[in-house]
């Protein structure tokens, strides 16, 4: 059962770890497969602790990612808010899904996220239409069951 004293602080801590993971130097092939850790964290908090992982938290996380990676400010922030909004809207329903179905929903959410980035990149004049862009969608969805299990265990008070 997810019940922690200070969910916001926890979100901050886990978010910072995800931010670091998003930039840890990896060999090129693994770099292409690197899932969007921070977004997965945001989705998880929006799903399990919607009062802590609100839209503003998602926006802040996206902005942090923008600043950290030096892309146009607001790009990830916008995409994060859209994804977090959808999760919030359907969090009660999504919680009841079996893990595999949740994975599919997360796959769709990540797809939407990448599409938004793709679109914004195009509008701001950095069109990158490589197929490898879509790989993290797959790895992120595959990571979801592991991540829910891990975070659930980590944040459960025994």
């Amino acid at each position: 059962m997810i019940d922690i004293r200070s969910p916001r602080l926890t979100l901050l801590g886990v978010g910072l770890v995800a931010l670091v993971l998003s930039a840890v130097p990896l060999p090129h092939v693994l770099d292409l497969l690197r899932p969007d850790f921070l977004l997965l964290i945001v989705v998880w908090f929006a799903l399990m602790l919607p009062r802590a992982g609100g839209l503003s938290a998602a926006w802040t996380a996206g902005l942090a990612l923008d600043a950290f990676h030096g892309v146009v400010l607001g790009e990830n922030a916008l995409a994060f808010v859209v994804v977090a909004f959808l999760v919030h809207r359907f969090h009660l329903r999504m919680r009841m899904y079996p893990l595999s179905q949740q994975g599919i929903v997360v796959f769709l959410l990540l797809l939407l996220y990448q599409f938004l980035l793709f679109w914004i990149d195009g509008v701001t004049g950095h069109p990158v239409n490589a197929l490898v862009r879509w790989l993290p969608v797959l790895t992120g969805a595959l990571l979801w069951p592991v991540l829910t299990g891990f975070l659930g265990r980590l944040l459960t008070r025994h």
Binding site: M1, I2, D3, L16, L19, V20, S22, A23, V24, P25, L26, D31, L32, R34, M48, P50, R51, G54, L55, S56, W59, G62, L63, A64, A67, F68, H69, G70, V71, V72, L73, G74, E75, A77, L78, V81, V82, A84, F85, H88, R89, L92, R95, M96, I120, T124, G125, H126, P127, V128, A130, V132, R133, T148, G152
Partner: protein, 310 residues
Amino acid sequence: MPALREPGARYAPPRVSTLGLRALVLIALSIGLMVADHRQQGLAMIRSGLSAAAWPLQMLVHSPVAAWDWLSAATRTRHELLAENELLRNAARENDLKLLRFEAIEQENERLRRLVSAAPRDAERVQAATVLRVDLDRLRHRVLIDRGARDGVSRGQPVIDANGIVGQTINVGPMAAEVILLSDPTHAVPVQVERNGLRTIAVGTGDSDRLTLPYLPRNADVQADDLLVSSGLGGVFPAGLPVGRIAEVKRDPSQPLAIVSARPAAALDRDREVLLLWSKARVALPEAEPPAPAAPAHEPRAKPRPAAPR
């Protein structure tokens, strides 16, 4: 199984009525930010502040690599160090010899330039910077270096290594700067074929071993292995720095343009140390040799050069 209800009465569903509104407000805010950042570059202050905030985390990401470097340096044997020392000493001697000749040629060049009353060559100052091992974006070719506005770095400043041009700075924070590499698909550099002075533009491809020269007509005089140097047009890179060598020229009779690709001279994806270049053409430097802190960052580019040689 995930809990339907969080324990106790604390659980209340988020008020759906304002959820959409909040989302809209935040989306509008994001779009505003993007427009301000992209169109007007008006967020320099905020960006620089955010970059300073990101700095400790970026150093944290870089620290294992730095620690490994330190460890491998600390555990080198005396024997290895002596061998390396010998090598470096030999290299320095050779360089000294070359430099002697180079100085004579430079003086001659200056004299000749004065004879034909051409503008003197730009004075240059360089500063070494370390490339931080931080993966910025897997789709774009950007790296982070550990010099920033604090060290006098400004936007659009050339970055080179021992073999040629690496790229230029695009975002400058107080402690770090982001460098866009030649191989980034959105980067282009005005070049000149050294053999015959033919001018064109080399564009990145997203592949760190390949540049393309898309604007050469089919009958242009280029051959494989021609050296490309920067032409100095565009005002970012000083003229004459190596950019790469032509790798392949394909002339398809049905196409009006030749398909030309080049290999970058610099080791774009393997560099650990790069040099930042200040040239007189961009920023008027004081005469003193120690790096003056923060030379005026946004001098107009086409500043008339002083006529007298340095």
